[in-house]
Amino acid sequence: MAVRTEPFVLNMGPVHPSTHGVFRMRVTLDGEVVVDIEPVFGYLHRGIEKLAEQRTYAGIIPLTDRLDYISSMNNNFAYCLAVEKLAGIKVPERAEYIRVIISELQRIAALLIAVGAFLNDCGAFFTPFLYMFRERERIVDLFEMVSGQRLTYNYLRAGGVSQDLPEEFLPALRKFMDMMPRFMDEYDRLLQQNEILIARAKGVGILPAEQAINCSISGPVLRASGVKWDIRKDDPYSIYDRFDFDVPTQPAGDCYDRYRQRVEEMRQSLRIIEQAMKQIPSGPVRAEVPHLIHPPVGEAYGRIECPKGELGFYLVSDNSIAPYRCHIRPPSLINLTALRDMVRGWKVADLIIIFGSIDITVGEIDR
C-alpha cells in the first residue's frame, strides 16, 4: 500500500529571520521536502522609478543609494555612468581612479555581507557574520571619511565625485590592504573546509550554465555555474581595461561554489585596488558640469558589474532637467528567477541556504 501525504503550505515571510528583509515565499511542503515555492514581492515597493521621474538628475543619486543599500557606491556608479553616457560628459582621470577604488572597496564590503549572511543561514550562529561585519566596518570607516555617511554615501556625481579624497585616506587604505588578506585567510580557516558546511552546501541547489543564461542570471551566481562573463572584462566601463585581474569561475554551480566564488572575487578586487592605488594621478575630480543637467533627447543604458550581478540604469531623456523614464535593471530580482527550479525537491533547510547563496537585497528587488 502506498502511503500518501498531503502537501501543506507554509508562508515564509514577509518577516522571517532568514529572508534578508521583507521577502515572502509561499512554500508548499511535503513533510520537510519542498514541493514548490512561489516568491511574493512588493513588501518594500517604494516607487523609486516613479520618484526618479520627478527629480533632477542630481537629486536621483540619493535614491540610488537606497536601492541596494549594501552596495550604495556601486549604484551611484552605475547611475552616473548612464547619465554621463546620456549627456556626453567626460570624467577627469583622478575621478575615474577614485571611482574604481571606491567601487571595488564597496564590492568587498557587499560580498563580505553576502558570504556572512550565507554562512549565517547555514546556522553558524552569527560568528562569521560578525567577523565579516567587523571587516566591513573598516571599509565603512574609509567611506565615512570620504563622504561623511556610513551607509548612504551620495558621493559620486555625474562627471566625477563630489569631493576629493582626504589626505589621510590613502595611508588608511594602505593599512587596510595590508590587513585584509590575513583576515581572508582567517575566514577560510574558520569555515571553508568545515565538514558540516561541505555536507550542507556541496551538491545542493545546482544551477546548470544553460539555465543560468536562460534565466538572465548575472554576477557571481552566473560565474559559479561556470560561465566566464564579467562586465568588467567583457564590456569594460570606466577604466577597468587598465587593470590586470582574473575572472574566477567555479565548475559545479552549487551553493558551496557560489560561496567560494564570492571569496575569490574579493581577492580579485583587492588586486584591482592595489593597482589603482599605485597608478592614481592628481588633478581635478569633477568635470565642469552645469548644476542642472539637460541631456539631449535620447536613451542610454549604463551598466556595471555590481556585487550581485549586472546593475543597469536605462535612462530616457526628453531634454528636461528630469529623466523621462528611469528603469533600473535589478540583478537581485532577475537572479531570483531560477530560485524555483533550484529548490524543488530539497528540504526546508536547503531552501534557506539556496536562497541565501543567491544573495538578494529586497530594496533592489522591489525598488
Binding site: 514581492f41 512588493g42 515597493h45 516607487g47 522609478e49 516613479k50 539555465q211 543564461i213 536562460n214 534565466c215 538572465s216 542570471i217 560561465v227 562573463w229 567583457d234 564590456d235 569594460p236 543604458y301 551598466r303 549586472e310 543597469g312 536605462y314 530616457v316 523621462y324 523614464r325 528603469h327 535593471r329 530580482l333 532577475i334 531570483l336 528567477t337 531560477a338 522591489d366 525598488r367
Partner: protein, 146 residues
C-alpha cells in the same frame, strides 16, 4: 568590449525572413511590429551569427500615445547587444506576446510591467500583480497616474 550591433544590419536579416515586420531601425535599436514580435525574438535567439541567448532586461516607456516596450538582448557567445522595441498603441487594454518561453528571465520583469504599466503579456504563465496588491487602482508608472 560588447559591440552594439547596428540595428540596420539586423533589420536586413529579419526582413529577409519576415518581410514587413520591422517598423524602424536605428543605429543600435530596432522597432518591430507587435504581431511578429515572438517570431523575431525566436529568430534572434536561434539564428547563426546572432544568437542572442541573454535577455538583459525588459522595460516599458509611456509616451502618452503609445507604450514602447524595450527588450535589451545580448549574446554571451559573440559579445554583442541590441535593443528591440515594440510599440503598443492601445491605451485601454494594451497587450503583447510574452517572451518567457524563450528567455525565462523575462518572467518577473513582465509581471512588473503588467503591474506598473498595465500591459498584458499573452501567454505568461502567472500574470498578476507583483509589487502592488490586488485591488490597487491604476498603474503607477503611467504618466497619467497621479
Amino acid at each position: 568590449m560588447t559591440v552594439a550591433l547596428s540595428g540596420k544590419e539586423v533589420a536586413g536579416k529579419i526582413e529577409e525572413k519576415f518581410p514587413g515586420s520591422v517598423v524602424e531601425s536605428g543605429p543600435d535599436n530596432l522597432v518591430v511590429k507587435v504581431d511578429s514580435l515572438l517570431d523575431i525574438a525566436r529568430f534572434l535567439k536561434e539564428a547563426d551569427g546572432l544568437e542572442f541567448n541573454y535577455l538583459n532586461f525588459v522595460t516599458a516607456v509611456d509616451y502618452y500615445d503609445h507604450f514602447a516596450v524595450a527588450y535589451r538582448l545580448s549574446s554571451l557567445k559573440h559579445n554583442h547587444s541590441l535593443t528591440v522595441k515594440a510599440r503598443c498603441y492601445d491605451r485601454e487594454n494594451p497587450a503583447l506576446p510574452s517572451v518567457t518561453g524563450l528567455w525565462q528571465g523575462a518572467d518577473f520583469q513582465e509581471r512588473e510591467i503588467y503591474d506598473l504599466f498595465g500591459i498584458r503579456f499573452e501567454g505568461h504563465p502567472n500574470l498578476k500583480r507583483i509589487f502592488l496588491w490586488e485591488g490597487f487602482e491604476g498603474h503607477p508608472l503611467r504618466k497619467d497616474f497621479i
